[in-house]
């Protein structure tokens, strides 16, 4: 039995047993001619607390007409006479060579871990709660730099492939650009993304501070397999060590298996050269694998017969389990989703129609389904997925929702085409644990590879808090 949302509850109390025939004239009053259109999608709730059938989204405004009708705005009663705005009555700015966002959008910026430029690592997190769609603008792509961002002259930069190969080879940006390039969508996610959720008490910060160490781009480059084949890789080799040209020469071991699966040496990001903080002029792209392995400023690939146990694969990017053992060579960023709208900091102004929206992704394949709940997981409805759905890339999900002004808890849960399901928090904590010590900042990394569900609690004032369910 579906729970009835705000509009219907006002019209007909849920428990009177009145038939749909009684409701019909009132629905028609609200929705006008649209309610009579043949094949019009159902406005029935698909899950508790006002979640509306996702097919309503395909109904060319039906759900929205219903919601607006309830406020009387459909009659134009609240409107004011239109006037020409000052910007329409003047000659505007001359078109610049490189455009930047409107000054009104200046708060759409990355959150920094090291805003005062101290002599240490520096992180910048994507403000997901302020973005739409699936492509992260290059200026807002997350970036982690352990030794600062190197100032690389692309004409001087070299990439060397050597080790267990027939012929060591050197490549430049110019020579790589001559290959038939391939493009693909891919998210890159730091293994420490969402690590603040290992805290026993939910952090009260925006989605971008919790989940801002994942971003999604179209990457263009040369398949690594092409370059390895050109050098003539020894068929017995099982590992590569990939190394950057940053101060510190960050390096990671990568299975040859992944290199021949879908690895790229990327030289474009969303159509332009890589941003310096994202690896200019070339980076390794290992779709679905933890961000740190996608070595930036790529200068060297050595084919070897054993993993190198470099500093970063040794110390930072692996996870200690309850009991003290550690997972090694986990690599894959597992199926995950989070709601960006509404979320912490985006309070609801009034009851009515909203779209619950967010991103879902999986390091093993394509998103097959996202379920959304508005009642803290008691009931779930299937969200609409915005296509095309790429593997190992963001998929945006949308679920229309009528907020009735009562408390609600919004959650999303992603499924991928490999049969993997985003774990409930209780399941996740049982398997992977939570921090023993208090976590006082979202910038901390109590552990790695967090992929459980994020829950946003809406109070009766429309305020939003981060909660655990």
């Amino acid at each position: 039995m579906p729970v009835i949302g705000l509009d219907n509850r006002k019209v007909v109390p849920h428990d009177t047993g009145m038939s749909k025939a009684h409701m019909a004239p009132l629905r028609e009053e609200i929705m006008g001619k649209w309610s009579r259109r043949r094949g019009a999608p159902s406005l029935d709730d698909v899950a508790g607390n006002g979640l509306i059938n996702r097919r309503a989204l395909l109904g060319k405004g039906i759900a929205i007409a219903g919601a607006v009708g309830a406020t009387g705005a459909a009659t134009g009663a609240g409107a004011e006479p239109l006037i020409d705005a000052p910007w329409s009555l003047a000659f505007g700015e001359i078109t610049p060579p490189l455009q930047t966002p409107s000054p009104f959008e200046k708060n759409v910026a990355r959150a920094l871990s090291n805003p005062n430029g101290e002599f240490r690592n520096s992180h910048a997190r994507t403000p997901h709660q302020l973005l739409g769609g699936t492509v992260t603008p290059n200026s807002l792509h997350f970036s982690i730099n352990h030794c600062g961002i190197p100032d690389i002259d692309p004409a001087q930069h070299k990439l060397v492939i050597h080790g267990m190969v027939r012929q060591p080879l050197e490549f430049t940006l110019e020579t790589l650009s001559r290959y038939p390039l391939v493009s693909r969508m891919a998210f890159v996610e730091c293994a420490g993304n969402s690590a603040g959720m290992f805290a026993k008490v939910p952090l009260q910060v925006p989605a971008g501070l919790i989940h801002g160490l994942v971003s999604n781009s179209e990457w263009t480059g040369v398949p690594l397999s092409t370059l390895l084949d050109e050098a003539g890789i020894d068929p017995t080799a099982k590992w590569l060590v990939a190394e950057g040209a940053d101060g510190g020469f960050l390096d990671r071991s990568v299975p040859v298996k992944k290199a021949y699966d879908d690895a790229l040496v990327a030289i474009y990001q969303n159509g332009e050269r890589l941003m310096p903080g994202n690896g200019y002029p070339m980076r390794l792209l290992l779709p679905g694998y933890q961000g740190n392995m996608n070595v930036k400023f790529l200068r060297r690939i050595k084919v070897i017969n054993q993993p190198a146990y470099s500093y970063f694969e040794t110390k930072a990017y692996s996870q200690v389990l309850p009991g003290g053992k550690t997972w090694r060579f986990h690599f894959v960023m597992e199926v995950k989703s989070f709601i960006t709208h509404p979320s912490f900091g985006l309070n609801l102004k009034e009851p009515g129609l909203y779209a619950i929206s967010g991103v879902a992704y999986s390091g093993t394949g394509r998103i097959s389904k996202v379920m959304v709940s508005a009642d803290g997981g008691k009931s779930w409805g299937e969200a609409a997925l915005q296509g095309p759905i790429h593997e190992k890339a963001f998929t945006r999900f949308v679920m229309p929702w009528r907020w009735d002004g009562q408390p609600a808890v919004l959650m999303s849960r992603a499924y991928d085409d490999g049969g993997n399901v985003q774990p409930l928090r209780a399941e996740f904590v049982a398997a992977r644990g939570e921090a023993a010590n208090p976590v006082t900042t979202p910038l901390a990394f109590p552990n790695q590879h967090y992929n459980s569900i994020t829950s946003w609690a809406v109070d009766s004032e429309g305020g939003i808090k981060h909660v655990y369910v």
Binding site: F119, L169, E170, F249, Q319, T326
Partner: protein, 179 residues
């Protein structure tokens, strides 16, 4: 059909010029000798592969540390003034919790990692400025502070890989199919 003729011409040209190269490979990589790669060839493997000649002792390392490392890592490597430079000595048991700080003593599986990272990345403001004897000495010093080698043990390409790190056997490979 305006594009037909140029494409046909291109295909014709490729069939004579580029195709033989592509049949084997693109031929765009420029051959380079191992000797010319030497300066970059710095990854040390856990079995000691690629460790350079040279050696060092904890005593020599202590002097270098005081001069080049303690500004960040603190006296005797006990930790710097900010949490970003934690102690390089000791560590809590990992059974204390999943958020236990991972250290050389409680976590590292191989001593070669200390040598490799020190040589490639330290000091933070002057990477690759230490010579190999200095790196062996600093590695020996850190290992001795953690009681993982004796105070007079010499670290070199032969001895370093033999240092048994306490946590080496506490790793699980959940997904061997990915390797």
């Amino acid at each position: 059909m305006s594009t037909y003729k140029p494409l046909a011409a291109l295909a014709f040209a490729l069939s004579f010029i580029a195709a033989p190269a592509f049949a084997q490979n693109a031929g765009l990589g420029k051959p380079i000798s191992d000797a010319d790669i030497k300066q970059w060839d710095i990854a040390i493997l856990p079995d000691g592969t690629n460790l350079p000649p040279g050696s060092g002792t904890p005593a020599k390392g202590a002097k270098i540390f005081a001069e080049k490392c303690s500004a960040c890592h603190g006296d005797s490597a006990k930790g710097g003034v900010t949490p970003f430079y934690p102690s390089l000595v000791g560590g809590q048991p990992l059974t204390n919790g999943i958020d236990t700080v991972k250290t050389i003593a409680n976590y590292y599986a191989y001593a070669t990692t200390i040598f490799d990272y020190t040589r490639r990345a330290m000091p933070y403001n002057m990477p690759r400025s230490l010579n190999d004897d200095e790196v062996y000495s600093l590695t020996a010093y850190i290992l001795s502070l953690n009681k993982l080698i004796g105070d007079n043990d010499v670290m070199d390409a032969k001895t370093l890989p033999q240092v048994k790190m306490p946590n080496r056997d506490n790793f699980i490979m959940p997904y061997p199919d990915r390797l």
